[in-house]
Amino acid sequence: MALRTPLFSEHERLGARMVPFGGWDMPLHYGSQIEEHHAVRRGAGMFDVSHMRPVDIEGPEALAFLRYLLANDANKLTTPGKALYSCMLNPQGGVVDDLILFFRGAGRYRAVVNAATADKDLAWMQLQGEGRRVRISRRDDLAMIAVQGPDARARAAPLLRDGLREAALRIAPFFAAEDQRWFVGRTGYTGEDGFEIILPSEDSMGLWRGLAAAEVRPCGLGARDTLRLEAGMNLYGQDMDEAIGPLESGLSWTVAWTPEEREFVGREALKAQRDHPERRDFVGLLLTGRGILRPGQAVLANGRVVGEVTSGGFSPTLERSIAFARIAPIPSAHCTVVIRGREVSARVVNPPFVRHGTIRVTL
């Protein structure tokens, strides 16, 4: 039996097509995935992301624990509210999960982890935290709604309580503000401005309906996937996993090598990978021929297979197919992708494809 978010009945009422995702029944779309995508690029859309799991990490050794647990350095978080994106690695340098970590105050952090990996993540964190003075609390009592798009903050702000509203409108991107009940991050997975609001489950329906009344369009996982692809953001399990680490999935920037004396899980393995001559690149692809790029398709350069597509699909903003691919370094930007037995031309580009409503690659 799949899990249901507190907004499940609302999705059904809105006529969503529901699909299984990471153990949950989630909305794929509410009619048109492409229109939902455009709503986020041009106005405001909202996503029920209550399947994602907040995990509170607290205690006198919380910072030391996180500096050991994560490949990015939690010590970078010096201002309360600041967020950090990081991979949590295994000793082989593969990715257990990717997460966002918020600093809430001395010895108080909140991570948000993926739905499908939440059980595994919690077990891993508990194991790494053994013998340390740190409390790791899985927050199944909380829901999460992402409000994204150029108009998202303005539409959401009136629904925040006094005090929190002013604070939420003041914070810079990748910061959070909170009051006793709600936690508002200026974060997201779309490449647009907006909030991700973590709140008690019983408050979620009120916020959702308030946003709907403010003409924020409900959006499903389908639009979430094309938005994050255009924005150049990785999807765990597809672009990286327990066997493929950050250096081969475009996430080198999230690995904090300095200070050198900081030990973290996977550091030794990553170091060996870093210096390996056959390390693959993680690139963006823009399909110049006709068709749709899909995960698993082979990428060829000069008639030789050099790698494969990890995430791919149709980009509603570019009206072209785009993808991420993991490939051996190639001399030119030109390659082909095998789509249904046929080689179709593509060009290597640097993600993101789209940010803040603007196309960032040459078509």
């Binding site: 097509r17 794929l28 048109s32 995935q33 492409i34 389908g222 068709g291 749709i292 899909r294």
Partner: protein, 130 residues
């Protein structure tokens, strides 16, 4: 319930077939199929003149979700394909039985048309799926 016009024939793989009365049939995918696929973003139409067997994959419809083969409902020759779909694949979503047609076929044996599903039988196929 999706739209299932009474005057068409159908396949279990969700193609519809219209008898044009001139020895040709027109083929597309049903309203139920387009709804299940979601937004359609790419269509590969068959080449004119291509000879196809019954149930042979001869076109591809790709939605935001996945690629799906479209099968020839009858053996015959493709005599026309819908070029509109190259630029407006979403015509299949918006108008599955009219502007969203995919190809026209001259069947080798027009009598075989009566072997396909009628609207009531297709409706049953759809109901059995859910």
């Amino acid at each position: 319930m999706s739209d299932v016009p009474a005057d068409l024939r159908y396949t279990k793989s969700h193609e519809w077939v219209r008898n044009n009365g001139d020895g040709t049939v027109t083929v597309g995918i049903t309203d139920h199929a387009q709804e299940a696929l979601g937004d359609i973003v790419f269509v590969e139409i068959p080449e004119t003149g291509r000879e196809v067997e019954a149930e042979e994959a001869c076109a591809v419809v790709e939605s935001v979700k996945a690629a799906s083969d479209i099968y020839a409902p009858l053996a015959g020759e493709v005599i026309e394909s819908n070029d509109l779909l190259n630029d407006s694949p979403d015509a299949i979503n918006n108008s599955p039985y009219d502007e969203g047609w995919i190809f026209r076929l001259a069947p080798n044996d027009m009598a075989a048309l009566s072997g396909l599903l009628d609207a009531a039988a297709y409706r049953q196929v759809v109901e059995d799926e859910v």
